[in-house]
């Protein structure tokens, strides 16, 4: 048996395996990576303003050149392989090995960076506020017998102040968070 026939056999095996898997389980990936939804997504109905800002953030990050922060620590095991003298370490971004460096002008996208950083700070501050609050919910029976969602009784250090949390529905007050951020 030569190498070519072995490869052909392997490819045939993989094709039959893929067919059996896709017949029994459906397509292997639901969306291609470029169309996949982000892991952390703000829901449109709950927070329309935050949804728009997060979408804008995701879109702009694919258009504006990114800033890399490179920590140069040391060159190891140089010993006497190079001649003594003064050295610098220079960093370049190349489109491929051996080609001339790619350069971007910061002035072209400075305003966009400012906007992006503001949006990022807004997003992280909002996330922090949300995570810091008690937002566990539980189902209880109302006086007329219907089931309603209520914020759960607070636990932890300040559990004795739990009686104050009586807001029905979503226990996180988005208007309050927005006011705090302003």
């Amino acid at each position: 048996m030569n190498f070519g026939s072995n490869i052909n056999k392997l490819v045939r095996n993989i094709k039959t395996q893929r067919e059996t898997i896709s017949q029994s389980y459906g397509p292997l990936t639901l969306h291609p990576l470029t169309q996949a939804r982000p892991i952390f997504e703000i829901h449109q109905d709950i927070d329309p303003d935050g949804f728009l800002k997060a979408n804008y953030l995701a879109k702009k990050q694919g258009e504006v050149p990114g800033i890399l922060n490179i920590n140069l620590i040391e060159c190891r095991c140089l010993k006497d392989k190079i001649s003594p003298g003064y050295f610098i370490l220079r960093v370049k971004v190349l489109s491929r090995i051996g080609q001339s460096p790619m350069t971007y002008d910061l002035n072209d996208c400075f305003d966009e960076y400012k906007e992006l950083s503001q949006n990022l700070r807004y997003y992280s501050a909002k996330k922090r506020k949300y995570l810091d609050r008690e937002h566990r919910e539980m189902e209880v029976k109302a006086e007329d017998g219907t089931k309603i969602t209520k914020s759960a009784v607070a636990t932890g250090l300040n559990f004795f102040n739990a009686g104050q949390a009586k807001k029905v529905g979503m226990s996180v007050d988005l208007d309050q968070i927005n006011e705090d951020l302003k």
């Binding site: 504006v64 990114g66 800033i67 890399l68 060159c75 003594p84 050295f87 370049k92 090995i97």
Partner: protein
């Protein structure tokens, strides 16, 4: 919310004019293992990197009374990728 002032404990100063580290002396004796650089450099990278894009690091020996011009004595490359490579 932050007030917009520069806080060195949280914020990072970005200097894109600087494309290399500060110079360091290397005496090149048999017991000089390392050349400690300990510096930070910021570069702008393409928003959608292709698979061939690389970061190139060059070690440059600087000009001095005994050395006639700058020499690149070593280099290395590092692939530039994001999550969609």
């Amino acid at each position: 919310m932050t007030t917009g002032e520069f806080d060195p404990e949280i914020d990072q100063l970005i200097d894109l004019e600087k494309c290399h580290s500060d110079f360091k002396r290397h005496t090149a004796r048999y017991d000089d293992d390392e050349l400690a650089i300990r510096d930070t450099v910021n570069v702008l990278v393409p928003p959608k990197p292709e698979s061939s894009n690389v970061l190139q690091f060059e070690l440059v020996l600087l000009e001095s009374p005994t050395i006639p011009k700058d020499y690149v004595v070593g280099w290395g490359v590092f692939p530039l990728l994001n999550s969609e490579f």
